[in-house]
Amino acid sequence: MSNSAPQAASTRATSDPEIAVELADVTFGYDLRTILEGITMSIPRGKVVAIMGGSGCGKTTILRLIGGQLKPRSGRVLVAGQSVPDLDREALYEMRRRIGMLFQFGALFTDMTVYENIAFAMREHTDLPEELVRDLVLMKLHAVGLRGAAQLKPSELSGGMARRVALARAIALDPMLVMYDEPFAGLDPISLGVVGQLIRRLNDALGITSVVVTHDVYESLKIVDYLYFVSEGRIVAQGTPAEVRASGEAYVRQFVDGQPDGPVPFHYPAQPYGDALLVHA
């Protein structure tokens, strides 16, 4: 630890140990296109927080900023008090070992069995004897109810099962933070409920912090502690599930009630309809 002390001094920018992830006035973009603007959020330890918004609003980008895969143009991104953009490669990899991530469609390694997928990080990062790895893998699989599927290949799993395996893989190294990128996308109602409950239960049982990026408002309202709504790269609303349900804000209402038109227009910007059809008065 002693050799990382100067680094820690320069990158440690918050002292609140109760905050797992903090974004302060974060702006991000590619070339001329701005994706995120002025994003400020803090995610307390032990909570499940949802980041919601329509497709392409920059939700996943927030996860990539937290994971250090992207660097913000400006603003601070802190994970457990460490400034992620300032970490060197080694420190970043060290931090990522304490973060689990579930990708949108699982992103399981297709050339490995379910068992090997979950053992992957343990084998890469630890010198645990194979018997211990086996026990740990079976425990993780048991937690998601798929101990019996250990020897299957990812191609033999249903969408919901693949998502649960990816969840088991995300918690393989007992992380302090798990990020979920669209965990509910493309799931049947039963799998949806199972995955939702797993996120909540694992969060509470293992004492982790969860960030769920999703557009499934119905499912997230059941399991999360707090929600942020992102639209066109900005946070437009936030609150607890009860506040969100009671909210009269136009964007939140459109999102929660699933209305096709509202603050988020139905039509992509275009020239006037009449001009396009060459209708002249």
Partner: protein, 270 residues
């Protein structure tokens, strides 16, 4: 009229300039990628089973196409060669003709082309699909560098496999020529093998052939892993990356073959 011509010329020049700049940019990126792969190679060697697995996939699984093609190329070479040689009463030199053609040129080049289309395209498609399905991102997020875990073992698997495959290609080709020349056409077996043994030089012919196939192996493997890693993460992106691998590898093999041949056989009648 002249102004339209000037505008057309301007547009043409702009397009050529943009294309050239893009090409040079990609070349620079590929060079940096190559250095990064080399830098991550010690890690891949430390866990040798990863590289052995890739040697199995790109080498052992390419054996059938390489061996069968080698056999047929040798047999055709013997038929064609005999037809010409016997006109000059030199049919006993058939073994020399076949062996030198295969060991110096056809072995490395044809095996390289087959390797590019069989193993190179598979490498690109696999890495490209891993990227498209976020497996590479997942690996990065698990603090495992895909360059060390995925790319370097595949690169070295290809580099090791290629000279072995080219040698086997030449060997089977010579055996095919033996079947046609000696068993079918009835050339004297002693003359066939004896002339070959006298004319083929180990250093000048065989070692140079192996060097060529090693260079082709490096080129094909680098192109394959680079195209896969650089592919657009969509179905279309992966398919065009796979096509690019085969086209670029084939051109690289033929161009490098010319350059290497010029250097290697400088003193031998060139």
């Amino acid at each position: 009229m002249p102004s339209t011509l000037a505008a057309g010329m301007g547009q043409f020049l702009r397009r050529v300039g943009a294309g050239t700049a893009r090409f040079i940019g990609r070349l620079g990126f590929a060079a940096r990628f190559f250095v990064a792969v080399l830098a991550h190679s010690p890690g891949a060697f430390r866990r040798i089973q990863l590289t052995l697995r890739e040697i199995y996939f790109s080498g052992a699984l390419s054996l059938v196409i390489i061996l069968v093609s080698g056999l047929f190329v040798g047999m055709v070479l013997a038929l064609q060669g005999y037809d010409v040689l016997q006109r000059y009463g030199a049919d006993e030199s058939l073994g020399v003709l076949v062996a030198l053609s295969l060991v110096r040129e056809l072995g490395p080049v044809v095996a390289g082309l087959l390797f590019a289309s069989r193993a190179g395209s598979a490498m690109t498609a696999e890495i490209g699909l891993m990227k498209a399905t976020e497996q590479l991102s997942a690996m990065e997020m698990m603090a495992v560098d895909p360059l060390a875990r995925v790319v370097a073992p595949r690169f070295w698997g290809g580099v090791v496999s290629m000279p072995l495959l080219a040698s086997l290609f030449s060997t089977l080709g010579i055996f095919g020529a033996y079947l046609v020349g000696v068993k079918l056409i009835d050339i004297d077996a002693g003359a066939f093998w004896g002339n070959m043994q006298a004319a083929v030089d180990f250093r000048q012919d065989i070692v140079n052939g192996i060097i060529k196939s090693f260079v082709f192996g490096c080129a094909v493997s680098l192109i394959a892993v680079f195209e896969g890693y650089d592919a657009n993460p969509t179905a279309e992106g992966v398919s065009s990356a796979t096509t690019r691998t085969v086209v670029e590898s084939s051109l690289a093999i033929l161009a490098l073959d010319f350059v290497l041949t010029v250097f290697m056989f400088r003193g031998v009648g060139v």
